[in-house]
Symmetry: C2
Subunit: 284 residues, 2 copies
Amino acid sequence: MPKPQTAPGVLHVVATPLGNALDLSPRAAMVLARVGLILAEDTRRTKRLLAEAGITGARLLSMHEHNEAGRVAQVLEILGSGGEAAIVSDAGTPLLSDPGFELVRACRRAGVAVVPVPGPCAATAALSVSGIAPYPFTFLGFLPRKAGDVKKLFTTYAGLGQTLVFFERKDRLAATMALAAQVLGDREFVVAREMTKTFEEFIPGRLSDLSVLGRELLGEITVVIGPAAQGARQGEEEAAKIHASEALAGGKPREVARRAAARLTGWSATEVYERFSLAGKKSS
Amino acid sequence: MPKPQTAPGVLHVVATPLGNALDLSPRAAMVLARVGLILAEDTRRTKRLLAEAGITGARLLSMHEHNEAGRVAQVLEILGSGGEAAIVSDAGTPLLSDPGFELVRACRRAGVAVVPVPGPCAATAALSVSGIAPYPFTFLGFLPRKAGDVKKLFTTYAGLGQTLVFFERKDRLAATMALAAQVLGDREFVVAREMTKTFEEFIPGRLSDLSVLGRELLGEITVVIGPAAQGARQGEEEAAKIHASEALAGGKPREVARRAAARLTGWSATEVYERFSLAGKKSS
């Protein structure tokens, strides 16, 4: 059940579809139909979504990076007197690379309840089907515009050797992936585009051969880059050791520990076996 | 529209509710009602979910960390002949700290289409309402059992200074947060428990004062730890600079650049202003 409304009001953070209207949850539809105010990144886009869900009469206010600071006081006034509002982004889970952070923060500080109505998120959707070790992963949002800044950002995370997820514009994808190859070395990747839409596509490859990205890719793009290959960065090896030893310590059979480490690193169970000499350890 | 089925079969990776049955999307319900086989972490739990959604007659097979390797061949045989299957976890988005990675990877290698049916995910739900800078963030899954291993893991990420999200068992939470304080310094946190359920609760605090976690916390716990405070770790400062300069380079007004940097770092716009002397830069 949704949390009962508490004074002084509730802000619902509502996830919306990435592209398929049938991905809007019944609770999201109920909340959007009920609240007095919906803060939307692009009100036209949200109007379309509401129409598809049969929701009419909602009061929409635009909130984007250029007017968010100004909206905060306005919304707090409404919520302060016990109202309910919802925030949505153009697609997916609000705040993850979308506006809303300042409003949520201000609500928390003002004692307004902020509750999630969970649903689609491009980053986790792409990860879940990528076949790439899903955690630990770091989500970078939209990459910066300048190649030099992208390079710096990749360099920051190269040493950790774990999975990265980010959004990129289609006209910059080729250059970005070439930079990734240069900084991160030869890793697996999956480029997801138009997820949940008619032309949904997942393009797997390795950074050492970017020819699969040679053609023009249209639509919304999410990139998953896998952990460092068996050349094995320090952080990754550390993480694999920790999780493998944890599985061993938990009294689980060695095979489970090895598979856990393999899942984390993208190495084969044999590689994990050789690297950590798990065979030599007692399994409890 | 869902992707049309292509030979040799489709594996749907289906997100399910964290606790509120109304968070199951119409498409998730349709897919689960249609496929010939559902791979579930805990078949009893999934049976309950299906019953609540009015879905009967589904064929369920358990798949968890102890039998996943064995299931892969079995499932590939079914999908190889053009069938459709779905994988679900107990709650949220499969593969993010749940079983399924080996199966998804094997399907990709065998040319079986793997498509996401996006929905709830505890990590992104907690982030979206935390009031903590939502990206870049790193998701660590369930933390290891031993305090020494948790400490090592935190140490790996301390230098980056960005937001961390992880799951922890209630009886270890106090010790884990004390370790976090020791390794990560004084940062903001939000402990989310029982998200979307009757006793949903978000407990904000700072690592320097863990007294808010003094009472016993029941249920499923997701922890969000914010970026390093203005003491400012290298990686964070770098990221803020990159994004601020990116906003400037994009021809946006200085105020936007400052807010973008503030959002990233959790600093106030004034702090960002002082740190990066954005005032001195041209806004294009």
